[in-house]
Symmetry: C2
Amino acid sequence: MAEAETPNRSPEIRKDKIHNRWVLFSPARSRRPSDFKAKSNPQPNNQTECPFCAGHEHECAPEIFRVPADSTNDWKIRVIQNLYPAVSRELDFQNPVSLVGDIAVSGFGFHDVVIESPVHSVNLSDLSPAQVGEVLLACKKRIEQLRSCDSIKYVQMFKNHGASAGASMSHSHSQMIALPIVPPTVSARLDSMMEYYKQTGKCSLCDIQPNELLIAESAHFISLVPFAATFAFEIWTIPRDHSSHFHEIDSEKAVDLGGLLKLMLLKMSLQLNNPPFNLLIHSSPFQDDPSNAPSTHWFLQIAPHLSGVGGFEIATGCYINPVFPEDAAKILRDVRIS
Amino acid sequence: MAEAETPNRSPEIRKDKIHNRWVLFSPARSRRPSDFKAKSNPQPNNQTECPFCAGHEHECAPEIFRVPADSTNDWKIRVIQNLYPAVSRELDFQNPVSLVGDIAVSGFGFHDVVIESPVHSVNLSDLSPAQVGEVLLACKKRIEQLRSCDSIKYVQMFKNHGASAGASMSHSHSQMIALPIVPPTVSARLDSMMEYYKQTGKCSLCDIQPNELLIAESAHFISLVPFAATFAFEIWTIPRDHSSHFHEIDSEKAVDLGGLLKLMLLKMSLQLNNPPFNLLIHSSPFQDDPSNAPSTHWFLQIAPHLSGVGGFEIATGCYINPVFPEDAAKILRDVRIS
Ligand SMILES: Nc1ncnc2c1ncn2[C@@H]1O[C@H](COP(=O)(O)OP(=O)(O)O[C@H]2O[C@H](CO)[C@@H](O)[C@H](O)[C@H]2O)[C@@H](O)[C@H]1O
Ligand SMILES: Nc1ncnc2c1ncn2[C@@H]1O[C@H](COP(=O)(O)OP(=O)(O)O[C@H]2O[C@H](CO)[C@@H](O)[C@H](O)[C@H]2O)[C@@H](O)[C@H]1O
């Protein structure tokens, strides 16, 4: 009878203090076999053009703005409406009537797409630090427009890269969904950071000591693997100075972040062979209670998808990560970008 | 310029009161194109035998028990250790030291596999109601054994069917992970159900009026699509009588549930062409605060995976469901099983 496997290192259960959730670390899991044919990573069709390419603007839902503002065929970035939106800008918003019965509100909101390059084959990491900075500033600009709508409580910025990370379009883009509610994971994060602040008088992200979890730093940001990373090789990039909202970023910091983000994407891509990933900006709600200001701190998360999830994660919200964060950090630190 | 699509029905945002989270309903989303080659559903290799098959018991991690207990080659169900466990039964458990700093505990726990049939090609829905009942009773028996371990706080039962739902083994099986902590989604569910109880004096699941969301009923259970279903065609099966813990089920109810569960799996499989899915049992922690007893009610969830998730769901915990629950319920109600 086979022995239950002895892993190199014993499993450990760590608390993600920012989200107030537990993560299981178990190197043994990465050695289990699969009797399904290789989960192939679906590749994009061999197309060289799509609706997001320069010259195809008429195939897209309406444009909101472009960068540079007065460009014609030579645009660098376009922010457009999503043609198949999850929420609709055309609905009226009525506040949820607090009922004991079922609670539903109209699906009011904004769902936009940020086309990051006019060229089909260019990835975010192919852009220069200044160009990545321009993409970040375009997101900031759109978020500031959305802020003027009273019913919008939170904007989620996200990027899906690769089919297994959810992408349906391969042309480099990000999305933002502006919601009339504060989403559950965001509320949990705010509560958890407030709890830390109450206990220590400090912001939990200002208080991070990266040590062996550090990957790299720039003038205004640090990149590290979080102590209780949900995903193997997950990376957080955190502003050094306390700041609650992503849209507080200025041009200088955007270019600085552009450089560090590019470096992280290149290291990840080189080490893990261009994996599918999500890039997420975790910010704070717009009309946030001012008492939350000292405890909330925005950051950027890169979540590579090296393995799927199953029923356990869906049921419990507990993720299983086969790679200890200090090992992932060392590996990413050591990747040389030529 | 293309018009932003007008969906048949406007999007809606609904509150899942059991989990205290919002779900976006947007039929328009299901019409978006993909420029990735079809996400093929990985099929199992054409094998007819594997370590979970009768005759291969020696290739497995140690057995815990089998059904019938005194069977030899003619076993019907085996409960075994997982060879690549997420948590280890060999570690000591120390309680988390409450630190302001990083919190980690040893990865103590039990990770078991329930092999549901000796035959490689038999699915759970191929078993008779009484046989499905026996699988449920084997789970109950193992959970009762795990209860005797003081450090175990919660047991999560889950089944992964199909590679996109996480399965690495195609031979029909379920798993259970017994944890020394209460997982985050479970705590959120308990809190939310307690809140409902405080407001109404009633258990939120006893209080459900299925109406147009009903799919089918049996003597002791009802099956419905929840009002704020996270996944398209998601099904909940709920005991009619108030009960906090799955392991309170008796033999008669197990067979009754076996029949209804089989019916739900057949309807789903026929309507959705054998989709990947997770089957989850949502129970309560072992040493639960007695004040939670009137508000907690176990149930069984079937979550088909018809589309993947992306960065938005990971960041926000808000899911996007393209199918309204009342439409899904009608379709499932109308599926005839010959
Ligand atoms: N000879 C043997 N003896 C005993 N046990 C054996 C064995 N050979 C394999 N096993 C175990 O059998 C189990 C089969 O489980 P599943 O097919 O349900 O999915 P798995 O746990 O691999 O991961 C899915 O579910 C988990 C939890 O949801 C997710 O973390 C993950 O991403 C997803 O793929 C594996 O856990 C494996 O370790
Ligand atoms: N001509 C056009 N003009 C304007 N917009 C166009 C367009 N053609 C397509 N689009 C939009 O472009 C977007 C491309 O987005 P992504 O590739 O990042 O993933 P998608 O949103 O499809 O879904 C992924 O992300 C979401 C959110 O995380 C998950 O719900 C989902 O499961 C996952 O696949 C789509 O939302 C689509 O509606």
